[in-house]
């Protein structure tokens, strides 16, 4: 359906990753520069001086938030490092379980005045400079935080919702960034994907062969090929990689 779009956050230049809708979104492969550029736009819109994007490491491995990018990419800005040092267990848990924005600011600053007007944002006891962090998440349980820092941030309730929505779409885009080498990897064939999917559903090689009317040897060959193409160590690794890449659901 084509429909004239009203205002932000669905405007193209305000929200380049989300404006086209969920269908076309998946087709676009964003670059790091796109994501940084879009963060700059948001920072400009709310009068923030800096931004940092954090991603929650997989549970069980590194439980914390890891810096993903900021204006100084590929290194980390001093603001990011200072904020990273201050991130507590509680904030990591918040990023995993809640969508409520978090803010910190010294009383009396311009930012604090703006943040106090936001009905659903939660206040932290934070150091200066002031900032606001939006919890974001994408497919397959990946979570993160998009933080904007500055002592003169201006943000109304509606703007806060719009900016948060834009943060979600830019995080989704950031999670779709693929290293160049994966683009050159040979494509996994349709038949190989079928085998992988059945394997993910708990079937043995014999069961896969029977359900696809193949010989057991052929089914195993398909699985071995896909394992090699995905640069995986074994079958479980191949299934995990394929799922994480979104090759099948």
């Amino acid at each position: 359906m084509t429909r004239s779009l009203a205002r932000a956050p669905v405007e193209e230049h305000r929200n380049p990753f989300g404006a086209a809708g969920p269908d076309s979104e998946a087709k676009r492969t964003p670059t790091i520069a796109d994501v940084i550029g879009h963060c700059r736009w948001i920072a400009l819109d709310i009068n923030a001086a800096a931004f940092s994007l954090f991603v929650v490491g997989p549970a069980g491995e590194r439980n914390g938030l890891v810096p993903l990018l900021d204006p100084d990419h590929p290194s980390d800005s001093s603001a990011t490092i200072r904020m990273w040092d201050d991130i507590s267990e509680e904030i990591v848990r918040h990023a995993r379980t809640s969508a409520l924005p978090l803010w910190w600011a010294a009383d009396g600053s311009a930012s604090a005045d703006a943040f106090l007007q936001l009905p659903m944002a939660k206040r932290l006891n934070g150091p200066s400079p002031a900032g606001i962090a939006f919890p974001v998440s994408a497919d397959r349980g990946r979570c993160g935080l998009v933080a904007f820092l500055g002592s003169e941030i201006a943000l109304s309730d509606d703007q806060c919702l719009d900016v948060h929505a834009r943060c979600y779409s830019l995080f989704g885009a950031a999670m779709r960034i693929r290293p160049d080498k994966s683009r050159k990897a040979p494509a996994v064939s349709k038949r190989e994907l079928e085998c992988l999917k059945l394997s993910a559903n708990g079937m043995t090689s014999e069961q896969i062969a029977a359900s696809l009317k193949l010989s057991v040897h052929t089914a195993n060959q398909y699985l071995t090929n896909s394992t090699q193409k995905l640069n995986a160590a074994n079958r479980t690794h191949a299934v995990a990689k394929a799922l994480k890449l979104g090759l099948f659901e």
């Binding site: 359906m1 991130i87 379980t97 659903m120 994408a138 349980g141 979570c143 994480k244």
Partner: protein, 237 residues
């Protein structure tokens, strides 16, 4: 930045924070009025071994409409690419024109939905931390809702759900694994063998196999591959 000082309340409009399912229903009703929608349905999609099913958390749809399209079809709509993730432009489903849903709804279902007051439906995805829910807003006639307001309503709903974490956890599939089991499964998903995981975690191979076996049992999976796939599909690892 230590200690979360939770100081403020939601929703501002009603002046009190959400605490119960009743509050959530009232909040969703108020949200509908705010954006001009006629009905809402908040659902969680649950996966068992081979199929998706849906759990309705809150809804003001007439019972007939739910029965006409059935739980599995609601799950199919929610999980199709039609459901807009937060921050993407909401997409309209118009049953009378069978638009975008020809694959999930048959002609009779489309006609009934239209008759029952769902002339246009917007399926929205809600992401709250690792949890994922779906919200459907409908109106009797098409072209009534403003996409920018829909996106804001979607965000408001994400915020509101964050205030009822217990309800949220009880609704969506919870994570049945212990930390150690999750850790083992994570390394197995990275292609490590039992012996390698044992070295990484500093425990014996038998212990690792025990953790993995428990994880397999908890997911009612048939083998490791399936346990890993289930954990990834539900966002646990």
């Amino acid at each position: 930045m230590t200690g979360l000082g939770y100081q403020t309340a939601f929703p501002a409009a009603s002046g009190k924070p959400l605490a119960s399912r009743g509050d959530l229903t009232a909040f969703l009703m108020a949200l509908c009025q705010r954006i001009g929608a006629d009905s809402y349905m908040l659902v969680a999609v649950l996966h068992d071994q081979h199929r998706s099913d849906v759990r309705i958390v809150a809804s003001n749809w007439v019972y007939d409409a739910i029965q006409v399209i059935g739980h599995r079809t609601i799950a199919a709509i929610a999980e199709s690419s039609l459901a807009a993730p937060p921050g993407t432009r909401p997409q309209a489903v118009v049953p009378s024109r069978a638009m975008g849903i020809a694959r999930v709804l048959d002609g009779e279902q489309c006609r009934m939905l239209d008759v029952l007051g769902h002339g246009e439906i917007f399926p929205l995805r809600l992401n709250v931390g690792r949890q994922q829910l779906y919200l459907l807003f409908s109106t009797e006639e098409a072209d009534r809702l403003d996409p920018a307001e829909l996106t804001r309503a979607q965000m408001r709903c994400c915020h509101a759900l964050s205030q009822v974490p217990d309800l949220l956890a009880a609704t969506t599939q919870h994570d049945p694994l212990s930390d150690r089991e999750r850790e083992c499964l994570h390394w197995v998903s990275e292609g490590k063998t039992t012996d390698e995981v044992a070295v990484i975690l500093g425990v014996s191979s038998n212990t690792v196999n025990g953790y993995v076996t428990h994880a397999i049992q908890k997911f009612a999976a048939t083998n490791r591959v399936m346990a890993v796939a289930t954990a990834i599909r539900s966002g646990i690892i």
